[in-house]
Amino acid sequence: MSYREHANLLTEEKLKRILKITKQNKIILMQGRLKAHEEAELIEKTMSQITRDFAGISFCVINPQQNGKQQVPFSTKLKNSIYNMTLGKRDFLTIIGPATIVREIRKNPTKIDLLINQSKRRK
């Protein structure tokens, strides 16, 4: 999901789309990130839609610009802030998947491990 595809959507529409896709057992790779209140609302909406077949989601936000313990020079920080302010937080990458498929996303913090469930079908 490119930044352009979701940036102008209302929170309600954005979250509806995310949940619709994850319920189709697909993993979303989203350019950018949700706002803090949107993340909380995503959790709320996910909880309200949990059924026997939909156990929720796993999600994770990573910033490829982040270099762990390495110090980022001030000029880079400033450049990134201006870039984020004018063009939105496009540097971030959000991964959202259904919990039945994505068992866990481990962030550590510069790399992520996506742990997938082996086929799990419920009767």
């Binding site: 993340e39 709320e44 949990i50 156990a55 929720g56 999600f59 481990r106």
Partner: protein, 209 residues
């Protein structure tokens, strides 16, 4: 924006008139981090009674628990708190996980349903707390999205936060990792179960209010 303005005005008015006689202290965190164990420890210390039941099975607390008029003393200071213990916040709740804890299918489904409601309630209560203690299990990876979402939402609301790295009595505990994950917040390592570092914890709470 309106929320931020409201929070700022509330803070300003309260400071101006020193009106905040009771502080609403919320306990947030993922399931099984030890929120209720810590809340129980505080209530035992100052009221002589427990707040709720704690268990090794996740989502033991499925409703908001409030204990009013908990007067805590630290040094020469004394403050009146309303302690709010919230259900653990999670992005997924699978009833099958409860089956591993020797529950029947009916019990597991019931617990899962109640737990989902609890998470929603906990998030809604973010607007009703003055200060938050984020309780994390120091043996677990602190970079989980749930932790980041909770802290991000508290920061957006301008609510003072103290991060508690719980279970430091366990060998796998890595408090340094918690500190590295949240360098902008005060972090204190405690063992709520063993009562380790509790005095230091009270001091840190008083610094926030």
């Amino acid at each position: 924006m309106i929320k931020k303005l409201k929070a700022f005005l509330n803070k300003f008015v309260n400071k101006l008139f020193k009106k905040k006689s009771t502080i609403k202290l919320g306990f947030y965190g993922p399931p099984n981090a030890g929120k209720t164990t810590l809340a129980n420890k505080i209530c035992q210390d100052w009221l002589g009674e427990d707040m709720g039941s704690a268990s090794k099975i996740p989502h033991e607390t499925r409703e908001i628990q409030v204990k009013e008029k908990v007067i805590i003393k630290s040094g020469k200071k004394e403050l009146d708190f309303n302690i709010i213990d919230t259900p653990g916040i999670a992005t997924k709740i699978d009833y099958e996980d409860f089956l591993r804890h020797k529950m029947s299918k009916t019990q597991a489904r019931k617990r899962a349903k109640e737990a989902t409601k609890g998470v929603i309630e906990a998030i809604k209560w973010l607007d009703n707390v003055d200060v938050v203690i984020v309780v994390l299990d120091s043996t677990e990876n602190p970079y989980s999205q749930v932790n980041l979402t909770i802290i991000g939402n508290l920061a957006a609301r301008d609510i003072p936060v103290l991060i508690v790295a719980n279970k430091i009595d366990l060998k796998r505990s890595k408090i340094k990792k918690v500190e590295a994950a949240f360098p902008q917040y005060p972090v204190i390592g405690i063992s709520a179960e063993k009562g380790k570092n509790i005095e230091k914890f009270y001091k840190e709470v008083f610094k926030l209010v």
